[in-house]
Symmetry: C2
Subunit: 458 residues, 2 copies
């Protein structure tokens, strides 16, 4: 894909420079809006502006919606008021709102002053919902039918009004704005009886979300129920909008990117990697690095406290990294598994004992396997093969026991913390890798030196 | 959501035990298939079998498709041959194939022997495509139109044949099986001219995938182009099937779960966490733990080699964990960011110098910030406040310099390895957290002792 857009980009730039605008237009007509956006991304603003004006009207709206806010703002600046009005009339309401949310106040004002009163009202309504809520994601343009309409009447209504709707494939049956049920266009089209009413045909078992439902939950519902649209109702079950599957997929991708960021100790951002400036990337990464570096003071303090013991048994120092890494990896395996299961709603806080019991059993198996191999490695490789004579039988036993206990604690903490985080309303991913690793680091050192003190220095 | 299903589950079990089957049926009718599946998941097999027989026919097929393979197999065993045939006739071909892929050979044979010849042929065709390919994901049931058909004829054809198709909303225009273009049902319905032909109306700029296209790429295309269906063609551009958006969403979720698993050092699996046995979870986790524990031999060897130096400068040992953690975190921040950008096709191998240049600049900023704070912390907290008199100015400088160099190397490696992995055909996620952390661990120790040797023991 990427290769293709690059070569097209080169061709377009060359053709524009040669002023072969007719050919440029011919090429643009054959291109999918998403591909045009990819091409624009790496182009200079002047060229983007020039090419954008050559796009067919229908494509232009789709391209505009997907562009970076910087490019959108640049293009809006170039529009006359009349052009701006014509252009925003072409957009679906939810897309218009998405764009407006990214614009500075003066541009927003200009857009709203040009929008027709009906559209302005709808835009303002959606803007009022909290970010990341179903209300802010929905579009107010949907097909509504009345319960007494027949199949023929319903099809006629869709044919007359469907042009402006983002999807016509799921229609909602309402009475005084209350959501009663839904029918799919497929059901209408394949119906054997043209006189059946919507009341007879509709599925009254409607699954809907509230305007304040979190967008992550909305995305989960799409993938659970295989919808192509989901109705949004207010607290009195009045239909206020619908969310379409393409928006749900975008939410899914954003949420996944966010989870990856948080688990990697990075402040999430809507900007792509290459579009973020060095300073922005730095600002997103430095807080966790700083925090974790400073909290490492604890591990330093623990090691200092046992300095005398380490000096007496020099062999112990060499195994600190292995112990900490094995503990950290064991913990993050558990936490990543549990966080993912929580995200997919496979588990819930009520399952906490099931989760802990499973992690305990897995931890016992992992602990046994790792400590056996660890003992063999320390005894036969490190001591016999590599000739480290500092390793006595007691030292080997201390290392082996520490591995077993650390793995056990790490898995239990890794399974437990994300569930508790979710229960008390935190994002479970925040508890993941970096934080658990640091906690397990300190703990594994305490276990190590504790066991060493008991067995070696009693 | 989960809470609701739990309480319904309890109610259903109680009602079944009291033999109030009429009420049970009434409840089941109101439930969405996906919710029925959730309820069945925690139920005993006997009850599942009993309740399944009470489901309305249409719901039964949808429920069956989403159930665990164990439950599917149990239900199939209970079917008579006639029931089995009737049941599989209800399913869409791609769903039937998904089920068959999970069944043992004797069950597969029984299903195929009952399927009608046409369906059997289609099932066998799809079964021949490699797992995770577009061919194995597609359904062969789609609406195809001929170029000379008019709008009225096309709508008539959809109304007559649409009932058995998974989606009717995108129709494909073909001639001698070659894919010429597509029209949406929306375009047909809102068309002002009933006599326009498909040839005039269709969009010939069709984006399609090959039967062998990887399913991850397929899912990416859905979210890029906002499709609700995507045509699948063979090498000669003959239409062989379509993939629908609900299947693409499932693929997206599975791929994300797989990425999370790999990055956490866990062998991916299709089974959910709670459905996996302790032994299965253990087997998926132990290989990486074992590998990383054993490769930690290198860190042990490095520390042993510098044992004399550590003994002479006792203060150095205490900062080993901080140095390794900061390096590991810096590296995984870079690798997670780059892996995610690669997955979303935001970057490509050709961007490697852009990525490295960005990581280098970020690394310089992070290195400066961290080493400044590190110096202040070591000098004013560890030495002055905590009274660690082993820390000389030279020791503080060694620690500070090591942090700066380690962060730099970690970020460059973290940005570089995933891109190279992808280029040579590996999953970039495999290079993530655990492996990079181990590499950076060894490297950070070498940097630390290298700098210490130069400055302290020259």
């Amino acid at each position: 894909m990427a290769k293709r857009s690059v070569s097209i980009e080169g061709a377009l730039v060359a053709l524009v420079d040669e002023k072969k605008y007719k050919t440029v237009k011919d090429i643009l007509v054959t291109m999918n809006p998403a591909d045009v956006v990819s091409v624009f991304e790496d182009m200079e603003p002047d060229r983007v502006q020039l090419l954008f004006r050559m796009l067919p009207k229908e494509t232009a709206a789709d391209v505009f919606v997907e562009m970076s806010p910087e490019n959108q703002q640049m293009l809006i600046k170039g529009f006359s008021d009349v052009q701006l009005k014509e252009f925003f009339d072409e957009l679906y309401i939810d897309d218009a709102v998405d764009i407006i949310e990214e614009m500075p106040a003066n541009v927003v004002e200009r857009i709203l002053s040009q929008a027709d009163p009906q559209a302005r009202k709808q835009i303002n309504e959606i803007l009022r919902y909290p970010e990341n809520s179903a209300g802010s994601l929905m579009t107010t343009e949907y097909v509504s039918l009345r319960p007494e309409m027949t199949v023929s009447e319903a099809i006629l209504r869709i044919r007359r009004t469907g042009v402006d709707k983002e999807t016509i494939y799921t229609c909602y049956v309402t009475q005084k704005n209350k959501l009663l049920g839904f029918v799919s266009v497929k059901d209408l089209l394949v119906s054997q009886n043209d006189n059946a009413t919507m009341e007879e045909m509709m599925d009254t078992n409607v699954i809907s979300v509230n305007t304040f439902t979190d967008q992550e939950e909305v995305a989960q519902m799409f993938s659970k129920y295989d919808f192509i649209a989901l109705p949004v109702v207010d607290t009195e079950n009045r239909l206020v909008g619908i969310i379409t599957v393409d928006d749900a997929m975008d939410v899914m991708e954003d949420e996944v990117t966010e989870d990856f960021s948080i688990m990697g100790g990075i402040t999430p951002s809507d900007k792509t990697y290459l579009r973020s400036s060095t300073l922005e990337v730095f600002k997103r990464r430095i807080p966790w690095l700083m925090l974790l570096m400073v909290t490492a003071t604890f591990t330093s303090m623990i090691i200092n406290k046992f300095e005398a013991a380490l000096a007496a048994q020099a062999a112990l120092t060499a195994f600190i990294p292995m112990l900490m890494d094995t503990g950290g990896n064991s913990g993050s395996q558990a936490s990543i598994t549990v966080i993912r299961a929580l995200t997919l709603n496979e588990i819930d806080f009520k399952d906490i004992f099931k989760v802990l019991w499973k992690e305990i059993r897995v931890a016992v198996l992992c602990g046994l396997a790792l400590s056996t191999v660890c003992f063999l490695k320390v005894w036969f490789i490190d001591r016999a093969l590599l000739g480290n004579s500092d390793i006595t039988l007691l030292v080997a036993i201390v290392i082996t026991l520490s591995i077993a206990v650390t793995v056990f604690l790490a898995k239990v903490i890794g399974g437990f913390l994300p569930m508790v985080a979710k229960k008390i309303g935190f994002d479970p991913a925040v508890m993941a890798s970096p934080l658990i690793t640091t906690a397990v680091d300190a703990l594994s050192l305490l276990v190590y030196f504790g066991i060493a003190t008991m067995l070696l220095f009693k």
